[in-house]
């Protein structure tokens, strides 16, 4: 198994921490992982993205220019990364704020109403775990039990009481994801 993922959206949406929890979950499942952020003069409201690779074997380059899965959380990121999904790969996006939806015909496309579902749960911060759930439903590359362990490792202990809420959000994402196009 090798999964090369780009997660891209606005700063403040939890893009980097989603990637970190995913990577930690991979470690809990004995996988090799890399997490490479775009870093720079970026801030809340600007764009943020992170490349996460999970693999059963050693990972060569942490820098790649085509992806098995793109998780897209705003229009700018869709414009930038849709073309970099491998043919036959997967694009998962939140339609909130998307004016020009994806147009590729050679990739699998899924939607997750992450913003709306987080609103229903009454907690905007849980948004990224809803997205995580949607991704894991499509690509069950790590088991939920290892995601829980990953959360325990990446969240400071004083917030461990919030782990059940995070798991709930993941399960909500799993059930709310919609298939748009399958190739």
């Amino acid at each position: 198994m090798k999964e090369e993922i780009i997660i891209a959206g606005f700063g403040g949406q939890g893009v980097l921490s989603l990637g970190k929890i995913l990577a930690y979950s991979g470690i809990m499942q004995d996988q090799e992982v890399t997490w490479m952020p775009s870093y720079g003069p970026e801030m809340r409201g600007g764009t943020a993205n992170v490349t996460v690779i999970l693999s059963d074997d050693q990972i060569s380059s942490p820098i790649i220019n085509s992806y098995d899965t793109a998780i897209i959380l705003n229009q700018q990121s869709l414009d930038k990364f849709e073309k970099h999904v491998k043919p036959g790969g997967t694009l998962l996006y939140d339609p909130n704020g998307i004016i020009n939806p994806p147009t590729r015909k050679d990739i699998n496309i899924f939607q997750i109403e992450g913003t709306e579902e987080a609103g229903k749960m009454g907690n905007a911060k849980i948004f990224n775990m809803i997205i995580m759930g949607a991704f894991l439903k499509i690509k069950p590359i790590v088991q939920l039990e290892n995601v829980k362990k990953g959360l325990e490792k990446s969240i400071p202990e004083r917030y461990h009481n919030l782990i059940p809420l995070n798991i709930e959000a993941i399960q909500r994402g799993m059930s709310a994801v919609k298939e748009v196009q399958k190739v």
Binding site: Y39, S60, P62, I64
Partner: protein
């Protein structure tokens, strides 16, 4: 097996320093390496091991604090990124001239000048050929993973004390900012005063007992004949390091028709390029210098007899290529491919450069 964590390269430098019994870190913040001091400040090692962590008033102050600590026989270090390392050069040459051990970490960003905060490898010449004035050399280690950021802190100190010479870890913004799985080293206690007096008492300023002469920490010698003799001693030391401390790694090099030569993060990207090129039927391998000084001269020369050409891949306009050409004595074509100024080469670009510059050329 040590503890497994997901950490950034920069964070690991800090954690490894604490775990290997480092006595003092002196630094000044600069992107993309600020997490080194941030992590140390959050970890508060002074409460745990007594390790001192100081945010100095400038890079110049930080390297001179390192000079002072090293003179006392302590395990001391600093870290910075390119413009900050330039500021430290005077101190580094003094430390080399005074024959003291220390560890300097450079998480390289694009230049020249203030340049960019994005990753680069354009400080190779500075690290390997001197940087400061005078005939001196640093031992230069080039990690290509977060795990090696951990491992090379302890190794760096070991070499620094073995040769009484500054050691540089030449990293870059990719390795510094990237998170990977890392197995942390076991905790070593800091050296006791008794240990330092016993093992470093011949050179360190540990308080003069009646049984020996004063130890003087200096890089000044106004008698040129003596200074030349001292330089001979340094050159003999560098020759021994060249003989004994070369480290390198290869990937699919045994049956290769062509070789990519790359260090640090470029070697990771090049490894993927090797996979892509092999899938196209091109027999290419990778040789990765782990020590940049001492450079794997003999090893490259040996490979030059087996392959048709070499491509150096660096995030610079072409610096290490000079050492590769010298190593192979220009017996085969050697070409350079680089992206720089903060741009990162993609594996596809490397394969294209290999096809155009080496195979087609």
């Amino acid at each position: 097996m040590g503890e497994l964590r997901l950490m950034k390269g920069n964070e690991v430098i800090a954690e490894a320093a604490i775990r290997c019994g480092c006595d003092g870190y002196f630094g000044y913040p600069i992107t993309p390496q600020s997490e080194v001091m941030e992590t140390l400040m959050a970890r508060k090692p002074w409460e745990e091991t007594g390790m001192v962590v100081v945010q100095a008033e400038s890079e110049v102050a930080a390297i001179n604090m390192v000079y002072g600590g090293a003179g006392c026989g302590k395990k001391v270090m600093t870290s910075s990124s390119s413009p900050g390392i330039s500021l430290k050069q005077e101190g580094i040459t003094y430390i080399a001239g005074a024959e003291l051990p220390c560890l300097v970490v450079n998480v390289v960003r694009g230049g020249p000048g203030l340049g960019t905060i994005q990753p680069a490898q354009s400080d190779y010449f500075q690290a390997v050929k001197g940087g400061g004035h005078g005939d001196y050399k640093l031992i230069v280690l080039a990690p290509n993973s977060v795990q090696e950021m951990n491992d090379f802190v302890d190794l760096g100190f070991e070499l620094a004390f073995k040769y009484l010479n500054p050691v540089m870890i030449l990293s870059d913004g990719i390795i510094g900012q990237m998170m990977e799985k890392v197995e942390l080293s076991d905790i070593k206690p800091r050296m006791t005063d008794e240990y330092i007096a016993k093992n470093h008492g011949s050179w360190a300023t540990t308080g003069k007992p009646g049984s020996r002469n004063r130890n003087i920490i200096t890089s000044l010698e106004l008698d040129s004949a003596k200074q030349e003799k001292f330089n001979h001693k340094l050159q003999a030391k560098y020759a021994k390091i060249q003989e004994d401390e070369v480290r390198f790694d290869t990937y699919k090099a045994e049956d290769a028709d062509y070789l990519i030569v790359a260090y640090g993060s470029s070697s990771r990207i090049s490894k993927k390029a090797v996979e892509l090129a092999r899938a196209k039927g091109i027999k290419v391998g990778l040789i990765r210098p782990i020590t940049l000084f001492p450079f794997p001269v003999k090893e490259l020369n040996g490979f030059a007899k087996k392959v048709k050409g070499m491509l150096t891949v660096e995030m610079s306009a072409g610096q290490m290529i000079e050492d590769v050409k010298l190593a192979v004595e220009c017996s085969i074509p050697v070409e350079h491919f680089g992206r720089y100024g903060g741009m990162i080469p993609s594996p596809d670009e490397i394969v294209a450069a290999l096809e155009q510059k080496i195979i087609g050329g």
